[in-house]
Symmetry: C2
């Protein structure tokens, strides 16, 4: 009940059991080093005294926290609305369960002091969506602990697991070109004040635009349309697209949630998709295949990337591999899935 009572230490147990502190430690960490009798006597007195090993002291002595830090680029609240993030979190959770590691969630806002990273007690870090302009990128390099990046800038000096955003978007454009489209919108999120955009989104837009350029069309063939919300902003996003002076016949969305929002916006406005407006998403979320009409999109394997990343992090922590083995980013394939929205 009372949490004020003094903590029982290993030393207390040793004294009561009439053994050395070493023996008590062995009872937990190297049981076979002790005679059965001694071990049991120790464990019994420990239980009797209500001894609980102090995890922090153990960590200081061993150098292991048995936790990894999951650094998220914005508030947790915001991240939890991103189906990709929650999926990744679930995958990472499963991997940590198996390894008996814990996940420490830490948002890293842009205005946070770089040394904050050093104050987080974990064996390593997994970081989601960090761009090359992020104030933390430098701190990352100086970190004494391994860091693995997911969906981040490909120019950062750290093991990185990305997907082929450029190639996927390029394929999406080719698909639409082949269907005869010549005037496009790209639906994306409103960039931050400083003009920075999620690295994945940046690459997708680049890839799409590149394909259009490679097809010999002028830059004006692609109009970028911003919107604030994601899920909620479907109606508004659609309107913004539909009211463009040069009205596009096809829209490429930087994510499936955005595409689904615009799809429903378009249908509420009485349009026929894809006849009036073709829509292509990115990500191939489960919802993408059950919308009406089902969404043409760029498929990515949602499992292999986070699994690979977390496994790599564990290997780095255990020093089974070294960072120099991972100099260039690992890039997972993407694949065009043609459904009925295009």
């Amino acid at each position: 009940m009372s949490k004020k009572k003094k903590r029982v230490t290993l030393r207390d147990v040793a004294r009561c059991a009439g053994v050395s502190p070493t023996a008590v430690s062995f009872a937990y960490n190297a049981p076979h080093q002790l005679s059965r009798a001694t071990r049991e006597r120790i464990l019994d007195t420990a239980e009797e005294l209500g001894y609980q090993p102090h995890p922090v002291a153990r960590t200081l002595a061993t150098g292991r926290t048995n936790s990894i830090g999951l650094l998220v680029p914005t508030s947790l609240n915001w991240m939890l609305h991103d189906p990709l993030f929650t999926h990744f979190l679930g995958e990472i959770g499963a991997a940590c369960d198996r390894e008996e590691k814990r996940i420490l969630l830490a948002p890293v806002y842009r205005n946070m002091a770089p040394q904050t990273l050093a104050m987080i007690a974990t064996d390593g870090f997994l970081m989601f969506g960090i761009d090359r302009a992020h104030p933390l990128t430098e701190a990352l390099q100086h970190s004494l602990r391994p860091i693995v990046l997911l969906d981040s800038a490909d120019s950062i000096q750290a093991p990185t697991f990305n997907i082929d955003d450029r190639g996927g978007a390029y394929t999406a454009a080719q698909h639409l070109l082949k269907k005869g489209h010549r005037q496009f919108a790209v639906a994306t999120m409103t960039p931050r004040q400083d003009g920075v955009v999620t690295p994945t989104i940046e690459r997708r837009i680049e890839g799409f635009s590149q394909a259009i350029a490679d097809a010999g069309l002028p830059p004006s063939a692609v109009q970028i349309v911003h919107a604030r919300g994601v899920r909620s902003a479907g109606q508004q996003s659609f309107q913004n697209i539909w009211q463009l002076r040069r009205r596009p016949t096809a829209v490429f969305c930087v994510s499936d949630v955005r595409a689904l929002g615009i799809l429903s916006g378009a249908r509420k406005a009485g349009l026929s998709v894809p006849d009036d407006l073709a829509i292509v998403g990115f990500g191939d979320l489960p919802d993408a295949s059950v919308s009406s009409p089902p969404l043409t999109t760029i498929h990515r394997d949602m499992n292999s990337q986070p699994r690979l990343a977390i496994r790599t992090l564990f290997q780095l922590i255990n020093e089974q591999i070294s960072e120099t083995d991972l100099a260039s980013p690992h890039i997972s394939n993407t694949q065009l899935i043609v459904r009925e929205s295009s």
Copy 2:
């Protein structure tokens, strides 16, 4: 780059700067205790050497980890599909942001050794949905750190924040009785092997059944219908209900997600809701108001409960209040929201 280089310690900085370790510590933790010149010299050498304070050592010395443990009763993956949990997680995240605390996620499976709890380095714990039969309940009492419970058994000796599950369900039953219904189904999750059920669900079923009994109806007026999935199992759940020998005219669902699943199952089967089957949910998720027809449900404030719980935990950690101030569970009100599904 190389993470193998020896760690720079506070002692190293002290030596290089020609001061005592105390002074270096002060430079970070009590800057005004140092002359400006000394402080700056220390900070400069620290930066030059690439010194990073060791968070674990600091924790051992101060007794503060600046993190709280969020103990989840099943796999993270499973929890992330529960909109209530993700919402709570977002709220808790926001509170932790403000206090500069981190969240450590730790699933506590039923088969886990009780001492595992002691091995998790946090300043306190927040625990979600723990039932009185949970093997951890005893370990919770012996914990040296504060623990706050959410949506848990009301018989556990720890500060608890629940909602009025019984009362809410009771009201739901009264509502249906008033509408003239006499034969009911209760749709709930399949209990575990050992018969244990989520505490909230248990209370909701009790409350509902109690109201039916108080109305003078026989126990046979309420038929419990189990289903495995939640979101996905709508169709199947509906079939199970519809195929009961004594077919109910109304179904009370222990959660909104379940209710929405059954609602869509019923409509796919060509039924009219509420004429053929009345449906009442529990929770009043955002989705409940936009289904067709909109769902009659029991409203709960999704924000106040987690906010109160986390604030209380912080107060316990800071010893601003004591556990004895929180002997009996805090119970938030619920409220019947009549929409068109009943």
